[in-house]
Amino acid sequence: MFARFIPMTTQVPGDALVSLNAVNKHYGQLHVLKDINMNVRKGEVVVVIGPSGSGKSTLCRAINRLETIDTGEISIDGKKLPEEGKELARLRADVGMVFQSFNLFAHKTILENVTLGPIKVKGLSKAEADKEAMALLDRVGVGHQAPKLPAQLSGGQQQRVAIARALAMKPKVMLFDEPTSALDPEMINEVLDVMIQLAKEGMTMVVVTHEMGFARKAADRVVFMADGQIVEDATPEEFFTNPQSNRAKDFLSKLLTH
């Protein structure tokens, strides 16, 4: 395990777009993140998997400080995550986030959902933002839904809008927190297809998911978490064919028996 762990963490630090250094977090007594060290290079797709309660969602949310951490350091593109305030807002604009429950703005149309950030945060003109947003919506295949409200769309369509909304900010890195877990099976693929396309285009991505197919197809690295720790960090090929730890073997065997 360590043999393959070491090359990953000894990469050139300047190369890391997202860097977590000795990160710890507790929920009361529960130690949810235990001394997490992780680097994500530019253009890399890292898939985080693990049993529920392993801390993988918390890890993902900590990267744009939707969760605070107790100790340690998280940096994005060399800049340390600041405390609450303007500085943090600016940094968050560079980190796209896609949630399990889509979280589209219910009172805004699909188009407005995508243009709100560029207009209000980046100061784009409405015409400019509309144009870019339509291009993004077409790209994720929901352009014809632009004037509708989120509630009028299917889950899969809503999630693709959420991806477009995040992309509209032209983020340096995209975080996906179980993006397909709330979707019906037939809608999962339409979202995964968009994500795979994104990965191919060179977007830096951290994806928390249970979709092993996606991990095999699109991931550069698989990070396996259990009980708040990173247990394995390997290429998908290595991880799925030859897991090193018992914890990972156990996890994979349970997946395969279904």
Binding site: N64, A89, R92, M97, S101, N103, A106, V121, A166
Partner: protein, 216 residues
């Protein structure tokens, strides 16, 4: 009945003063209450604490105490007013703001937290999250309770009559003293003019409620 008709100008005067007190205090209370609610959900702990303490103290003490404070204690502390109306407006808006804050806060809580997180994650500042995402959606569920609060405010303004402010209830008391034999009619007249303000408010409330029901 004669006593009402004979004193119609006095009633009208009182009605306008009550309306004035209610509208001015209502507007201030809405603004202050919304700020208190924003403070209550802000990321700054000191603001949250202040807002919570204010709301709990003011909401749980009688309105008369608020009036005593602004009409008697504030002047002693060097805050003096030319007219008691100002004291009444301070007391009424300070008191009502606490209730507004609670109503707005419950409306804010009715908006799923995930939307606020999504707004933060595209780089919005706290004030933008609140004004662009949370409050516009909170309004739907907040308007009916807010109108109840405004109706209570209109009625509460009668307390000002006891603090040398002439408004509807104050004039009513004068009339009742002057016409000891027709107190019932005098008070029915007073009640009628209160209803003139509060009933339309109630109608607005039910209209809004219907509209919101359709929007959902």
């Amino acid at each position: 009945m004669d006593v009402i008709i004979e004193n119609l100008p006095l009633y009208w005067e009182g009605f306008l003063r009550t309306l004035f007190l209610s509208v001015v205090s209502g507007v201030i209370a809405l603004a202050v209450g919304t700020l208190l609610a924003a403070a209550r959900v802000s990321p700054i702990a000191a603001l949250r604490g202040f807002s919570m303490a204010y709301v709990e103290v003011v909401r749980n003490t009688p309105l008369t105490i608020a009036f005593f404070f602004s009409a008697i204690v504030l002047p002693r502390l060097g805050v003096t007013f030319q007219q008691f109306e100002v004291a009444a407006i301070i007391a009424l808006s300070a008191y009502t703001a606490a209730f507004v804050a609670e109503a707005v806060r419950s409306g804010v809580n009715s908006v799923p937290l995930g939307q606020a997180e999504a707004a933060r994650s595209i780089g919005m500042k706290f004030s933008q999250v609140l004004s662009l995402i949370v409050l516009p959606q909170a309004v739907r569920s907040v308007v009916p309770p807010l109108i109840n609060i405004m109706i209570a405010l209109v009625k509460n303004s009668s307390v000002a009559g006891a603090f040398f402010v002439l408004e509807l209830f104050g004039y009513g008391r004068q009339l009742a003293n002057a016409n000891g034999d027709q107190v019932l009619m005098v008070l029915i007249g007073v009640a009628f003019f209160y209803l003139l303000i509060t009933v339309p408010l109630g109608i607005v409330a039910s209209t809004v409620e219907r509209k919101v029901a359709i929007a959902r």
